[in-house]
């Protein structure tokens, strides 16, 4: 059993799972925003990064991890609302290229602001659990207390989001506003408020992700911490389907595991190649994503 748990295959699956849930969270944030406002939020990673900085930099370094995490989430939610009200609202109904350019620009602005305030020197975030892998018979199992905490946190966030959407009145209004704004408005749903709420929810998820990434990845928190994670999360969202939260999650975890196997059995340098290859193939074969039902909504 020990040999099995520390074997190469199991190590790759566990390592991939830990990375994959992070990609899944990023993908989930993208899907939430896409579903509610039809905007690809390229600044999603940077918004999350800024929220993490606010959580950990505004408070003294000795501050409790959980308090900082809470502040980061609040900052993320607030930033989401602010972004939707000030930047995004001007983009509704504009040609499709406008939001893309605007959000890429917003990404650069946010990273520059963070660099100007906190510098590009990496900042170490406290870790509430050990990042050192458990050992069995002198060999590491590819899972540490912190990695487990990451997976559990990701699952909790996903379940909470799912419950909000499926079982609450706000969730119903969110879905209605996204699916058919005009009819929803006629039925008394305050659509603009729902759009803002969608951004707040997505940014809150993003803030949790950024805190997890910055405290686990040994490179610490920098203005660019989320760049790479965002790229993989974006690919997960595209592969899984931008309209499908379940697709985003499954694709995120799968990609994490696939990348781990590629890195282990081929070479880490091949990961980006494989990632981009998968993106191209999935866009060619199923442009709407693996998990999206074909609809003719956009005519």
């Amino acid at each position: 059993m020990d040999a099995f748990l520390t074997s190469r295959i199991v190590s790759d699956i566990l390592g991939g799972l830990t990375n994959g849930v992070i990609y899944a969270l990023v993908a989930l944030s993208l899907v939430l925003i896409w579903r509610s406002t039809r905007i690809l939020n390229f600044a999603q990673g940077a918004m999350a990064m800024l929220a993490a900085y606010v959580g950990f930099a505004v408070l003294a370094p000795s501050t409790n991890y959980w308090v900082s995490m809470a502040v980061a989430i609040v900052a993320g939610v607030a930033l989401g609302a602010l972004t939707e009200r000030t930047v995004v609202r001007l983009l509704y109904g504009k040609p499709e290229i406008n939001p893309v350019v605007a959000m890429v620009g917003f990404l650069l602005v946010l990273e520059s602001v963070a660099a100007a305030i906190w510098s590009t020197t990496s900042r170490s975030l406290p870790t509430p659990f050990s990042i050192i892998d458990w050992q069995l018979a002198g060999r590491p199992v590819a899972m540490s207390p912190f990695a487990l905490y990451e997976v559990v946190t990701a699952v909790v966030v996903m379940v909470v989001v799912a419950l909000v959407f499926q079982y609450t009145s706000v969730g119903l209004q969110l879905r209605a506003a996204a699916l058919n704004p005009e009819v929803s408005r006629l039925l008394g749903v305050r659509v603009t408020r729902m759009l803002t709420l969608g951004w707040m929810l997505a940014s809150g998820v993003g803030a949790v992700t950024a805190v997890l990434v910055a405290s686990n990845y040994f490179t610490g928190l920098t203005p660019t911490t989320m760049d790479g994670v965002f790229a993989f999360g974006f690919i997960a969202a595209a592969v899984g389907g931008l309209d499908s939260p379940v697709g985003a999650l499954v694709a995120g975890v799968l990609l994490g595991v696939v990348f781990q196997f590629v890195g282990d059995f081929i070479n880490s340098n091949a990961i980006i190649l494989v990632a981009l290859g998968l993106l191209i193939v999935s866009l060619m074969v199923r442009p709407s994503g693996l998990f999206t039902r074909r609809t003719e909504r956009r005519v």
């Binding site: 390592g15 990496s122 170490s124 050192i132 590491p140 040994f218 610490g220 920098t222 880490s268």
Partner: protein
């Protein structure tokens, strides 16, 4: 919009350069030579360095530390009656994004410097970035001094007579470290992780040149590290662990050192690390580990230094602190207890080299006579060995000693033996006793 502005700036730069070339051509006819960038009261020099963006971590301090030297010298009357004006342009290591607030176009920024005009570029940073402006600077007769990189590209006096490196080459460093490994870790399996460019390639060559043959050598890609985060390194380090490597040599930039050390820590893998000076600076490396519930994994690592180690009693350490404290504009948060990190010591090193050379060149000099001075005599800087160029060798420093990381902010010298060698294959690693002497008196006033 951005495109238009770039074209405008580019156009303006070209016009200015053209104007300058025509003016200097006219002056060559008769009047006393007017040296570009030099007036009776001032000499203007410039550099392109990453103040923001992907390579800014730690490296953003280097040019500022040199400027601290210039500030100090200016406050004490300048050099031969001239004040030094140092124009620093942020080129983000030529890479847009990643928090870059400068202009990632090194060529365009260099054209701006040429148009100022500057007497020379001094301490510009990066191998790819400085390679991209070698021909441009040469065509405009602008010396390109003390390029911040250990590449061998700066040592090519026949093609680029105005181009000079400063630090030891990657090969010199790995040869000296390799010699140490042979003596102290003989018979142990060695694995090598290096950056997939001349940094890793030259470093590996140096190790093999002295007879260290890693059983596994992996080259990583910077873009992979940026996209994949530390997870990108996990398979590399896990492989070293399963292969039973007791010694791991790193030719890595600081962020990559963090990723390698962090992965090993998570895997419960504790090899003897031997880390190139490029990515070993303890203060920079520790930034990612500070406050974690385990000791900085870099402690105990062996590295190389061509600058005095922070725990060394070297006379320069006190002087460096003094001039950093003096430059509140560049180092507002530096206090009498702040650690002097490797990047600061690096910038101060060539800052001193420049003022020394400028002083030696005399009151009336030209670009040609300045370069002649540079290759005619050794210069005392804060580096361990004197800076010695020759007409046939523009590489820079050729030696240093072995250091060990002692804490999150300091390195100590293992023994004070200073080794020298050259990048050339089979050139021996020798012990030298010709060290940098005391601080030149004129810098102590």
């Amino acid at each position: 919009m951005v495109r238009t502005r770039r074209i405008t700036i580019g156009g303006a730069a070209v016009a200015l350069v053209l104007g300058m070339v025509m003016t200097s051509g006219g002056l060559a006819q008769g009047a006393p030579p007017k040296v570009p960038g030099v007036t009776a009261k001032q000499i203007t020099i410039g550099a392109t360095v990453p103040l923001t963006g992907i390579a800014a971590q730690g490296y953003s301090e280097v040019a500022k530390a040199a400027n601290a030297v210039f500030t100090w010298v200016n406050q004490h009357g300048g050099v031969n009656g001239r004040q030094i004006k140092y124009v620093i342009k942020d080129d983000c290591y030529g890479t847009p994004g990643f928090g870059c607030t400068g202009n990632p176009n090194t060529v365009a920024l260099t054209k701006q410097l040429i148009a100022l005009p500057v007497f020379a570029t001094v301490g510009s940073l990066g191998t790819p970035t400085q390679d991209s402006v070698r021909a441009l600077l040469k065509a405009n007769h602008v010396p390109q001094l003390f390029v911040n990189s250990g590449s061998k590209d700066w040592n090519n006096p026949k093609t680029y007579p105005g181009l000079f490196g400063w630090q030891t080459s990657y090969t010199v460093e790995s040869k000296i470290l390799g010699q140490y490994m042979l003596a102290h870790f003989a018979g142990q399996k060695v694995c090598f992780l290096g950056q997939h460019d001349d940094f890793g390639a030259d470093g590996l060559l140096g190790l093999q040149d002295v007879g260290v043959n890693p059983i596994d050598s992996v080259m990583y890609d910077v873009a992979g590290l940026v996209t994949g985060g530390a997870g990108y390194f996990t398979p590399f380090i896990a492989k070293f662990q399963s292969e039973g490597c007791k010694v791991v040599y790193l030719d890595t930039i600081p962020g990559a050192t963090d990723a390698a050390l962090g992965n090993a820590l998570a895997l419960g893998y504790h090899p003897q690390w031997v880390i190139s000076s490029v990515g070993a600076d303890p203060v920079t490396v520790d930034a990612a580990f500070a406050g974690k519930p385990f000791p900085d994994p870099e402690i105990g690592a062996i590295s190389f230094s061509y600058l005095p180690a922070s725990l060394d009693t070297n006379v320069w350490n006190g002087w460096m602190r003094e001039i950093l404290l003096n430059d509140k504009a560049d180092f507002p948060n530096f206090t009498s207890t702040s650690p002097i990190d490797g990047n600061m010591a690096y910038g101060i090193g060539w800052g001193v080299a420049f003022v020394e050379a400028l002083k030696a060149a005399g009151r009336n000099f030209t670009r040609a006579s300045f370069l002649h001075t540079l290759v005619s005599r050794p210069f005392q800087t804060s580096a361990l060995v004197p800076l010695r160029y020759t007409p046939g060798n523009h590489q820079g420093l050729q030696g240093g000693y072995i250091v060990q990381v002692r804490s999150a902010s300091s390195t100590g010298v293992l023994d004070k033996t200073v080794f020298v060698t050259t990048s050339a294959a089979k050139s021996p690693v020798k012990i030298t006793t010709k060290l940098s002497t005391r601080i030149p008196a004129w810098l102590l006033k």
